[in-house]
Symmetry: C2
Subunit: 345 residues, 2 copies
Amino acid sequence: MKIIMDAMGGDNAPAEFLKGAFQAANEFGVEMILVGRGEELLRIMKQLGYDTLPQGVQIANADEVVDMHDDPATVLHTRKNSSMVLGLKMLADGMGDAFISAGNTGALLSAATLLVKRVKGIRRAAFGPITPTKSGSAVIIDAGANAECSPEFLLQFGCMGSYYAKKALNLEQPRVALLNNGTEDSKGTDLQKQAYGLLRQAGDKGVIRFVGNVEAREFMLGGADVLVCDGFSGNVLLKSIEGTAMYMSSLLKGIFTKNLATKLAAAICSSGIKELKGLMDYRRVGGTMLIGISKPVIKAHGSSDALAVKNAVQQAIGVVNSGICDDIRDNVDKMILPRETQANA
Amino acid sequence: MKIIMDAMGGDNAPAEFLKGAFQAANEFGVEMILVGRGEELLRIMKQLGYDTLPQGVQIANADEVVDMHDDPATVLHTRKNSSMVLGLKMLADGMGDAFISAGNTGALLSAATLLVKRVKGIRRAAFGPITPTKSGSAVIIDAGANAECSPEFLLQFGCMGSYYAKKALNLEQPRVALLNNGTEDSKGTDLQKQAYGLLRQAGDKGVIRFVGNVEAREFMLGGADVLVCDGFSGNVLLKSIEGTAMYMSSLLKGIFTKNLATKLAAAICSSGIKELKGLMDYRRVGGTMLIGISKPVIKAHGSSDALAVKNAVQQAIGVVNSGICDDIRDNVDKMILPRETQANA
């Protein structure tokens, strides 16, 4: 298996990306193609104590880098020699099995859509991060790719999320729920009301196991395996989980560092605290798949370090092996509204 | 001061409401009018060990109760003899200074709007709960009253929230921010883009101190004193804060109850843990003001116990004393879009 990686995107690029990629190649036995400024990568490789590239690792030169301020809509033209654009072209051309980048999120979404393309019939690709909940883990889809959504987008997110969760969370019949401001059928804005009807129909047809509306609180307490939402609400949800976890962690730190006795208490609980921190650590999963793109594209966290990079590679390997993109392609006819198909065909 | 209270709404009504009201009358020296089924209230009063009503407490009879399944839109007609509707009428008629209910949220909003009315010029009343953040406390407005919002609603929420925060959080110049999926001016859906422009103008005119867009994570880390959002996003935010806090608390409990040593650790940190729990406890604040209604109406938490009821009374006293409703009335001309005024006058 060959994993193509943008070595230049993210706060800690390229050093942490080289480290993470070298570790991944060694540990997982995959080939890694690092896309970026060749000379810079080789120089940093030497700083890291390597004379030559480790076995299975190659470098593909790209002179430019997409930065965080580049306009996503035009990056294909303004940064055509960038590590992100060239890496995606390589994926589209079959030179690798998956692509990973920690760079500009909007640019990655836009360039992946234009170069690698969506699965035919899928209206929008979505971010589907896996987040810990009280019952284990769940997929939030869309967590921020599409601020404005149509009801059909949400139907497709629910179906794609279900196929994704089957493989990524190893569930036979993932519980798909719609994020809403109450559990009654009539809750939400027009978007949720219409999406509810479509998801209910898909549930009745057996395409997904739709369990209805869920509020954010019940979701966190384990109410769903796949949470369907527009990208705006999904971003609010994901970021408030992160913010609340960070805030509570800082309160806990205050409690444990109060005096000598509480420091002792912290030492006693250290394994549990470490576990808790690990659970809330973005590095654990590594990245977020762009679900709906025809080939595996993984967005790694912007502040990824070597561990997060390695975990993103592991996730990419899992996505490739599971055949999730094929599952979506094979079942896309169940995710399209008949009249819309004609209108948009 | 006279506080009118719906004694029949909420999971623990009426016993906990009697207890809380009796305590409040005694502790704060206010008069309490309890609205509900008279005979039932007197019977429970006796069960609580009282022969007569404590000084300052009266009962106003209401034969019906609004239940959680009643349709908010028609409750004024279908439940016209309910404790909620009669209590609101008493407030409208000047028989008290504030009204508190823990009953059906939608019904309270709808009945308060129709009976007590909004401040003239205010398009929609909003829920403005106070939530703890890393920098202290902040107001989320709207936290769920209006799932669908116009940009002008959001402008008004920002202005009303600012006047509210000045008094409720004791801030001279509260930082007003717009909840968004990024900090750049161009972020969000059409609603956020347009609301951003209106809030920016209000900031430039000195009506509010607008600090721009904020993501949910930065909000939780202390990025704003007043967070403006549509009621759908506000509900997602508030409920995910609650859910994440509950989830993390359950993880913590697991850590502390693992074995004898960790139980000792918990004992050492008990004061800190208690403080943390208190901070995340809805009973602390007591209730949420319906901001924009012409007189003080407080929604208490549905599962309020006596302590929460007492705190809701304390909050109501604070709202009455602060003159927040007058502040909004006196400044409403700054919260109306000129062309809209003409169109809607």
